[in-house]
Symmetry: C2
Subunit: 350 residues, 2 copies
DNA sequence: CGTGTCCATGTGACCGGTCACATGGCTTTG
DNA sequence: CAAAGCCATGTGACCGGTCACATGGACACG
């Protein structure tokens, strides 16, 4: 069970061991407790003493030992992000946001990837993260792997989740999300207003059958009296999106496609192109995410901008609030919004 | 100096405190040291005793305390990745590789982003990472920020770096890299063989003026007696690549462009398109990285495949080796290789 | 059969911080 | 001026592991 873990020496072999709080105390002529007070910004320290101690700290190059602090105080100053894949744009951006906010608060950030929603993977991740030293947990639960971890997490582990809107009800955790429902509705409405008879949808993996994206899309269609085509599912891999696109490309009735994310849109576009159908001349496509390059694609992609970085920041604030009990200033989460570019146009006159 | 850090309680307030090694010992009727031995796979434990202890551990849901272990043993079982940006593909993939390998070895992974190479940012990162509890350090030094950290790192902090080939000489650290020189040369040669008079180059930010990419490109050109155009510099942001592309697009002599990465290629392609120049009809472009979607772009991108995940794994092996002194099995690093797709073709007949 | 060795196990100190409480000086107040 | 209170500081125990060393029994060997 206990894997032989290659350890990494903390006390560096350079010269003597790193100075401790007691070394500093001795050099400054005070007690170690006073040094500790200085370190913790205790109000009850004589300004002269404080300066004196800070001087010595500087001179000795003293650095507090995180492990000792965590052990002694019983609180860890860390946050661990559980993530399925660090290379997907939405995930990576959310991580970036968490890290940024954590850094500003002086918290360390750990990363733990759950490779899949297979029980083994989920269990290992949960065990790892149940260690008190992992600190607060931010689960990026955009998919089944993350959601699985969230569900399996013991109730006494402090955690919040970044999810998709509407997904994953039932757990008592704080859920932070970007509500794409409205934006999905806007996108669909926009396509309809262009004159398309209906809008097809290629979905990315989702925890719930009914993501907010799908809900916004479906509602809009129904309300407009437009036919609601079956959702075409795709995976995270671009190839599956391409295959989904091929199916759609073969159907001459398809003139507008709302894609689960920008990469999906790209692959669908490819399939369309291979079938000799022009974008946006023959078919309009809309993506999701607004990846940095989307504006520079050819044609520039009409897509829904999602502020994942802010989502990450909000998650950090939430976990800190949960764990300290101190309410944190609310993080402004800009709602996802449709950015119209070149990949959408009125349907060709039949 | 010491930021007020919001702490995260390690001892969960659920029921009683988490069981410690001594609780386990008591319940199993042995001494805490024996439990410790079981935990560390010490050979000198009676098999029956071991099973007994493992049983109790299971029953009590005991989890070892990382902080206590680190403190007591003086070794941390963590690795910290210093990274400039988690959202760029190459960076994110390398991180993914490090995490994967670390997870397999039971090491925790921390992430610290350095936002820029400004002295403040670099200093903070270095301080953070100098803490023994950060464990071994993997610096992703693809750019000036990472390189700055690497240079500023005290010699007694164990670290390795993922760099670009040929960059960043002079530090005594292990440097792991994907040698793109040959692939860059291959790409250039390929374009020349297609009949292009020369090949232009849009470079991404680099620590060194002379990255391996540029070297491979330049050498090939010189050796072929082709003119060597000035390198066009671009930033990480897509917009700057687009602007670089605009410059090139205006020059009718430009018929082949080697781009610093795939996103750059995409933006350059856009600029070309706006100038009415077809890819690959009028201009051929080659990217770098082989982002997952590159094969599904329109036209599919000819690019150089880089195995960043393996690079990350190799970095982890290197830092573990450095820190434990135990040589690690070598990680196979596939050399970057040219993948020919649709964005390259012979120049239009003049 | 005495004794040396090895094995399984236990004991006490320690890692570097924090916490709870004690102390002594100075100021405030009745 | 004594009692009370606050402030600056110090002392000892403790967090949950690990390390170094001690102990006692089983077995082997001369």
């Amino acid at each position: 069970m206990t894997g032989r873990s290659s350890g990494i020496p903390a006390r560096r072999r350079g010269r003597e061991a790193a100075p401790s709080i007691r070394d500093v105390a001795a050099a400054a002529g005070v007690s170690y407790q006073t040094v500790s007070r200085v370190l913790n910004d205790s109000p009850n320290v004589n300004p002269d003493t404080r300066r004196q101690v800070l001087d010595v700290i500087e001179r000795l190059g003293y650095r507090p030992n995180r492990a000792a602090r965590a052990l002694g105080s019983g609180r860890s100053s860390a946050v661990t992000v559980v993530i399925a894949n660090t290379t997907l744009y939405g995930y990576a951006s959310t991580l970036q946001g968490v890290e940024e906010a954590a850094r500003l608060k002086g918290l360390a950030v750990g990363v733990r990837v759950v490779e899949s929603d297979r029980p083994v993977d989920v269990r290992h991740a949960v065990e790892y993260v149940s260690d008190p030293n992992a600190g607060g947990i931010v689960v990026i639960a955009f998919d089944a792997a993350g959601a699985g971890v969230l569900r399996a997490l013991p109730a006494d582990v402090p955690a919040v989740a970044a999810t998709e809107a509407g997904g994953l009800t039932g757990t008592p955790r704080s859920m932070i999300y970007l509500d794409e429902r409205q934006a999905a509705a806007d996108a669909t409405k926009y396509l309809l207003s262009l004159g398309h008879r209906t809008v097809h949808h290629v979905a990315i993996p989702s925890e719930t059958g009914t993501s907010a994206r799908q809900a916004g899309w479906r509602d809009t269609l129904e309300r407009a009296g437009a036919p609601v085509p079956a959702v075409v599912p795709a995976g995270w891999d671009v190839r599956s999106a391409y295959l989904a696109g091929r199916g759609l490309a073969a159907d001459p009735d398809v003139t507008a496609i709302l894609c689960g994310n920008d990469d999906t849109a790209m692959a669908v576009r490819r399939a369309l192109h291979e079938a000799g159908r022009d974008v946006p001349g023959d078919v309009s496509i809309v993506g999701f995410d607004d990846v940095p390059g989307a504006a520079y694609w050819t044609p520039a992609l009409t897509t829904v901008r999602m502020d994942f970085v802010a989502l990450g920041r909000a998650c950090l604030a939430a976990i800190v609030a949960e764990v300290t009990g101190v309410p944190q200033p609310a993080v402004e989460l800009a709602p996802p919004s449709l950015v119209v570019r070149e990949s959408t146009a009125p349907p060709r006159q039949a």
